[in-house]
Symmetry: C2
Subunit: 131 residues, 2 copies
Amino acid sequence: MKLKAIGLVNSPFKLKKGSPHQGRFSNEFSTITIYKEYEEALEGIENFSNLIIIYWMDRAGPASLRVVPHGKTEKRGLFSTRAPVRPNPIGLCMVKLVKREDNILTVKWLDALDQSPVLDIKPFVPDIDCL
Amino acid sequence: MKLKAIGLVNSPFKLKKGSPHQGRFSNEFSTITIYKEYEEALEGIENFSNLIIIYWMDRAGPASLRVVPHGKTEKRGLFSTRAPVRPNPIGLCMVKLVKREDNILTVKWLDALDQSPVLDIKPFVPDIDCL
């Protein structure tokens, strides 16, 4: 199972230190540049107010099966946390789509570090993504 | 960017034909068997009523940049749909956790085909995953 980048994040978050633990709690803007070869796949995306961005957390530390979640003091199982130190460092973030200009999406709430490879974009559909 | 399976889906959906286009609209149960080497990472997962399952859609067709979404008649860009024919066939499904028995999770709403490799499990957190 091999992945290919479909685009790249440009974000104000250059380093893990100082970056938000969840993008939702930040008002910063990021852009996602989709590679030209995939631009056609963006058609219609401007009709969605929110998107789910799947990206590769290329600077996550080695996987750890038990971690202390953000703001907690005791370790628990990794899969009951959103910590980045996962066997597959796949980042998942629901964002607000601010605008699309050709192959560049401007979004809010994205917590990816600058230059993170983007793997997939799916429209956010509350009927299936939420309770 | 290489992925490794952390577990395997056992599902009543053996073939694409006849499987629900979204698991949310099905009442069938599936199980996710997490490989023993990752079992420790499940600690605490039983405290979440809902999980996000990330899996590999190993039987998805070749990527297509424009597709006709389920129930529609006109093509649009792939990234504005949830169709499986993606450059990276990463499946994403919010499910209801019914029970955990050791390394086996029983869930509802999962639309993965039987024997799909599981890549990651994240707790569903409405404050960041929903509006």
